[in-house]
Each structure stands twice: as structure tokens, then as C-alpha cells.
């Protein structure tokens, strides 16, 4: 579902939210593995995923704000050129 969002929506913000959804699906899978395999390794992985996701969101949103300052838009198509 998150993948669908990344591919279909054209607002950068919504693409980001869809990314979060995908990460969370992975989280849930890890926790379930950890539960059914009777060890905690999966939960440690989730801990790392959450940390990295937080870092990623911070950087991503900063990029988005910077891009917004340049282009006044949050639509992915408007960022198609490589020069600023």
C-alpha cells in the first residue's frame, strides 16, 4: 500500500507518508517474527528502523522545505529539472 502511494501520489509530502507506511509494515513483520521465534532480535531491528526512520524524516522534510523555498510547490513533477 505504501509502495502504491509512493508510485501514485504526486505530492512529495504524501510520498513521504507512504514511505513511513512501508517502514512500519516492515516493523510489524519484524515484531511478529520476533514473537513467533521467541527471541528479541527482531525487536532490536525495529528499534534501529525507528531511529533511522526518524533521521530520514528529519532530513527529508528539511530538503522539502528547502525545495519549497526554491519552487513554491510540493509536487514531485515540479522538481524534475536538475538545475536550481
Amino acid at each position: 500500500m505504501g509502495l502504491l502511494g509512493v508510485l501514485m501520489r504526486r505530492s512529495v509530502l504524501l510520498i513521504y507518508m507512504s514511505l513511513e507506511l512501508m517502514l512500519n509494515a516492515a516493523n510489524l513483520a519484524w515484531v511478529a517474527f520476533s514473537h513467533f521465534n521467541r527471541n528479541l532480535d527482531g525487536q532490536v531491528m525495529v528499534f534501529f528502523i525507528v531511529t533511522v526512520a526518524a533521521a530520514e524524516v528529519a532530513v527529508g522534510l528539511a530538503l522539502m522545505v528547502a525545495l519549497f523555498r526554491q519552487r513554491q510547490s510540493t509536487q514531485a513533477e515540479d522538481f524534475a529539472t536538475m538545475k536550481l
Binding site: L7, L14, H35, R38, T51, A53, A58, L61
Partner: protein, 167 residues
Amino acid sequence: MNEILFYSLAALTLGCGLLVVANPFSRNPVTSAMFLVMTILSLAGLFVLLGAFFLAAVQVIVYAGAVIVLFLFVIMLMGSHELPRRAFHWLLAAAACLVTGALAALLLRLLSALKTQPPAVGAPVEGGTALLGRLLFTDYLLPFEVVSVVLLVAMVGVIVLSRKEAA
């Protein structure tokens, strides 16, 4: 009791997740963000059912408390509340559906091919804070340190990116 909770939470997670990606009633990013909060909260509920108490709390604190608030902050700063309705690319949509469907089919195929039962020996583990912490500082010490460096790099990067007049 647990099963009822599991299925209702799972349905809530999926439904809200769908509404984040495609909400037929609203093109407002704030609505998407609020449904993302709902998704996160019901996921945290699922974590609790799976015995991962610490992670459930972390999930709520980090995602609902920080990440999505950041999203809201940025949405408000940008001020474009209603997303513009643009020409719908049928080709793009079809391609996206195809890829997602293929991935889903692959996963289902894998799951149904999976014959081995999980080794259900011993009591289910509970993700208590002390246990997880011990694991983090012994077996996973190196990844833990690396993650802290990642966070530091992200922080510096964000500060550089968001300075008003970047040189």
C-alpha cells in the same frame, strides 16, 4: 478476546493506511497525516498484543509524537492546504497498480510456500526495557553506535539544509 482485538486492530491499521494513501473525501495532507497517526496508534496496539511493550511506547513517542508533528509543522509552513487536482495519468496509475500487485502476489506466493512452523518452544518473549537494553549494549553494540552516528549526521545535515541563507 485477544483475537478480537487483533483482528479489529489489524483492520483499523489497514483501513487507516489506505486512507493515508488515497482518501476519496479529501485532498488535504493534514487529513492524511491524521490517518497516519491512527495507523501508528493501531500498530502500537498490535505491538502490545505481540508482547513488544517497549517498542509500542517508542512507536507512539517517536512517530505520533515527533515524526508526524514534524509533518504537520511542514504542511502548515508550506501553507498549500488543498493539493491541486491535476490530470490523472492513467498509464502511471496502471503501472503503479501492476508493480504493487506483482509484489503482493509474490509475497502471498512466498507465504503460502512457507511450510515450516515457527519453533514455538518456550514462553513468548516480552520486549521489556531491561532485556532490550541489555541486548542493545551487548550483541548489537556496533549497530547501536553506528545508528547514533547516523542520527548525528542527520542532525548536522538538517541544520545545514535549513539555514536561511545557505552560502
